[in-house]
Structures are given as structure tokens and as C-alpha cells.
Symmetry: C2
Subunit: 292 residues, 2 copies
């Protein structure tokens, strides 16, 4: 077991100390922001919903025509080795696959694979209990189905978010909403139908889980969602791996529903936490029961 | 003087061998594709139009809220030191300013500045003599006024360009053309008016020079340009630092003009080459004549 505090990372087939993990400046992420990544949570030595995250990581890589250095099974084994080495009970793991060392600074080379582990910062209770305000911006992520490393617009907008004392920014194109820079978006209609924006969104794993959980209690579906529908919704919330569910009570200058986190949103958060516990128990069983 | 072949780069206040130039994996270019850059040509130890390129580099940095590590004068001095060290008569220099080492993998830190030098590959005579075919794609670069490192879409489209046996891809939004991933776009109308696409474009230095040169011989201006206007134009061409002017003779399945490089395009290429020679002579004078 590693000494706590001495963080290790995986870089191109080796587990090395974080402070020794460097990429040469010819990497295409540095020259052209080209690469894909993924991120999932760990608890007590086991990732949550790992097969889903690995599927998405491989799908992003394929969309961006980058060859992962490993099979999914190999990658899973590497991830478990890193988890054992770092020994941080609650954390997040990030997989980054870059465009690699490019000869001409434009054409991808053999990708570089970096796996880092991070202490986890969950959203404060305050955000869940009071809900958050978000602003809107007319924008669609490039190639939204792929989890690319391109956050030029998301990071650029952080100043605007701060200026408006908001917590995040909701993308839409001509009034059709899609997603946040790092989260998916849901509304709850007045008949308790749970709807998540379809089209031009990253297929979030938490989004998928919430759709499934919502389907057990309510009507639930993906659909085109307009800003007008959002403003007249009963509830709204965002989902993400780290944030789980955060209720949204204000969008720009419009109050959503009664301005407080809604019962449907909070019931789904309870369901998600229960699902995570269940998934974690399942993973703690001998590994032969855990199939890809 | 350096031994030819042993390339040096500038990285955070030091000139070091290229093979020793690494960034830590926590850099925001690697995590989030966040950074800006610029690129200019060198001949016989002098950059062409350096004040223009430095102005644009600093403007891009400001737009993306990254603090350059130097003043323009300091940067100019560093660039001349690197040119002397590498001693490559004809080459290109690339300045990259990344989002820096980020504590949370999202908020920019202190930027990392990388300056690399590259042998120059000018377009083949073939491209200039025969002209090129390009395809079109409905897309606008994010924050197009800034020269960000984000080329996710441009690189992703290289496969489509190859499939169509084309040389490049012209971006438009709903039929209003803007630019190529790495070049600006011009048309020549039948009255010899030279027009470059205005709006949603990177302010190219070659674009600026060509507008000025064209104004001496013809009418020249920036304007909204539609694809319909392009298809009925007399000539079309692209401009860039490395490519100078390359005539465009086909866009998608439409032939432009008579399908051959036009006189106006070629006359402007001659003028540009002459302007570069003049600029290079000016720079070769004692430096006190060269003011920022």
C-alpha cells in the first residue's frame, strides 16, 4: 500500500509518482487541444458503474479516431492496480487519451494515455438543500457525443457565471436546451414526467441512471426541451458523476417552479444514492461475478 | 551557433533542447484543451511582420484571460535568442501559452509558455499553379477572434477532406462563409473587387496584408460573403502565414470561375512575396529602426 499523500498516476503503461508525470510538448493536446477523457468515482477500492464509463471512453476515442492503448479488460486491470497503489477510499479517476506526439503538429500520432486519481469534492449540502441559479448561453459543444477535452467555451464562461453569481451555465441553441459544460439537464413537468434534453448532449452515465430510476416511479423520457418549457416546468435539476443531482431553482432571471428544490428531484437523488450503494456492494463481491 | 539538427525550444524562461521539453500532465491544455498560440515565419534570422503577430498573440491571451509571461519587448528578445541558437535560415516559430498547471483541472493556473521552431513547409508549386479543391462544413470556430489551440473540429474533419480528395474545408454557418481551420478566405468578384469574409474569422496577418495590397490595385474590403456569391465569383483563394495565397478552383462539386487560378489571385501572391522581401530587408537593418 502507498503512503497516503504520495499520489501515483498511470502514464503509458507505467504507474509513476504524480510529480514525475510529464508529456513532451509535441503532444497534440498541447498543440491542438485534441484528446478525449472520462471520469468516474471510486469508493472503498471500487469504481461505480465502471463498464458504462469504459464503454463511453472507448466510444469517445472511436469518434475522435484515437486508438486506446488497451482493451477494456486491460484498462480495468490497470485502474484497479492504480486504486490499490494510491489507496484513497473516496476519490475520482480520470482517463485522458491525447492525440499523441504529432510529427507535424496537426495529424494525431500514437495516443498518450494518462490515468490520474483525485480526492473527490461532492457538492455542498447547501446546493442540494437550496438549489442553484444557472445562466444560459447559445452554444452547442463540438461533437457533443464525444467526451473531448475541449472546454474552451466552458472555461471562458466561468467569468460570466461568477459575474451573475450563478453556479453554472446551461447551453441552448436557438432556445432548444442541451446540457451544461460538465452536466446533463432534466426538467420535471407538472404531471411529474421526468424529461432530459435529447440531442447535442454527452450521454451521461448519471443521466442514464436517473432516466432508468425515474422510469420506476414516474414517466421518464428523452425529448427536445425548449427554454419556454423549462421556464414553466415544475422542477429542474442537473446531473453529473460528481454532483449526482443538484436542483435548479433559477435560470437567468426566471424562478423555476416554487423556487425550492422539488420532491421529484430529491426522491431521485435518494434513489441514485441507493443505486450507488448497491453497485458498490456488487463490485465488492469476488470479481468473477463482475462481467463486462 | 547551434549544431544544425539539434533543435532548441524556449520553455518558461529557459532555452532547452527540444527532447527535454515536457509539461506536467496537470497542464490545462492536456486536461481541457485550454490555451492560445501564434505562428510566424523566419527568414535569415528575422521574423516577418513580428509586431503584428505579437499583437495578435497578446490579444488572444487577453481574450482567453491568460497572462503572457513577458512583455512584447521581452518576448521579441527571447524569440531572437532562440533564432540565434537554432540557426535555421527558413523556418516557422510557434508560441503556445497554455492554461497552466491547474489545481482543480478546470480553473487556469499560471500559464506555461512554449516557443518551438520548425522547418517550414511551403505549399507545393502544384497547388499554386493548378489551384485546389475544398469542401464546406457548417461550423463556426468557438471564440473565432482568439487563436485558441482548439482544433477538435478541424482535425476531426481531415478524414472527410481526404475522402473527398480535397485540400481543405471551408467553414460557413447557414451559408455565410467565414474561414478555413487554419486559413482565411477571399473571393474576387467579376469587377475585380477583392472581398474577404467578415465576422467569425481569425484576424489573419496575411489576410490583413492582402487586403492592404489588394487596395492598391483593386477595390478591396471585408464583407459578409454567402456561399451563393462564392459559387458565382470570378476567383477564390485562401491565405495563411505558411501558404501565403493558394487559389481555389473547386468548392464541393462547383467549379469556381474558369476552373483555373485567376490573374488577380496570382498578382496578389506576387505582391505578397514582394512585401515579405521588403519586410525582411527592413528587419535586417540595425534594430533601432525597428520599433514596436
Amino acid at each position: 500500500m502507498a503512503t497516503p499523500g504520495k499520489m501515483h498516476v498511470y502514464l503509458n503503461r507505467e504507474i509513476i509518482p504524480l510529480e514525475k508525470a510529464f508529456l513532451h510538448v509535441s503532444d497534440l493536446s498541447i498543440h491542438r487541444g485534441y484528446g478525449v477523457f472520462d471520469f468516474f468515482k471510486i469508493k472503498d477500492g471500487h469504481p461505480f458503474f465502471l463498464p458504462d464509463y469504459l464503454d463511453r471512453f472507448f466510444h469517445s476515442a472511436q469518434l475522435m479516431r484515437l486508438a486506446p492503448l488497451h482493451t477494456k479488460d486491460e484498462l480495468r486491470s490497470v485502474i484497479y492496480k492504480l486504486i490499490e497503489k494510491n489507496n484513497i477510499p473516496e476519490s475520482g479517476i480520470k482517463l485522458i487519451l491525447t492525440g499523441g506526439y504529432s510529427e507535424d503538429g496537426y495529424q494525431p500520432g500514437t495516443p498518450n494515455l494518462i490515468i490520474t486519481q483525485h480526492p473527490l469534492s461532492l457538492p455542498g449540502r447547501d446546493q442540494v438543500e437550496k438549489g442553484i441559479k444557472v445562466i444560459t448561453c447559445d452554444y452547442i459543444r463540438e461533437l457533443p457525443e464525444a467526451k473531448t477535452i475541449n472546454y474552451t467555451m466552458g472555461i471562458w464562461l466561468t467569468d460570466k457565471i461568477r459575474q451573475h453569481q450563478a453556479a453554472d451555465v446551461l447551453y441552448h441553441r436557438n432556445g432548444i436546451v442541451s446540457e451544461f459544460p460538465r452536466c446533463n439537464f432534466f426538467i420535471v413537468r407538472h404531471d411529474n414526467t421526468v424529461v432530459t434534453a435529447a440531442g447535442n448532449v454527452l450521454p451521461g452515465i448519471t443521466r442514464k441512471n436517473i432516466l432508468r430510476l425515474a422510469g420506476k416511479r414516474y414517466q421518464a423520457r428523452e425529448s427536445v426541451v425548449t427554454l419556454d418549457e423549462v421556464f414553466s416546468a415544475k422542477e429542474a435539476f442537473l446531473t453529473s458523476t460528481t454532483k449526482r443531482i443538484v436542483p435548479i431553482v433559477q435560470i437567468d432571471d426566471k424562478v423555476i417552479g416554487n423556487g425550492r428544490p422539488g420532491d421529484v428531484s430529491l426522491s431521485l437523488l435518494d434513489d441514485l444514492v441507493a443505486l450507488e450503494i448497491e453497485d458498490n456492494k456488487l463490485n465488492a463481491r469476488p470479481q468473477k461475478f463482475y462481467q463486462f
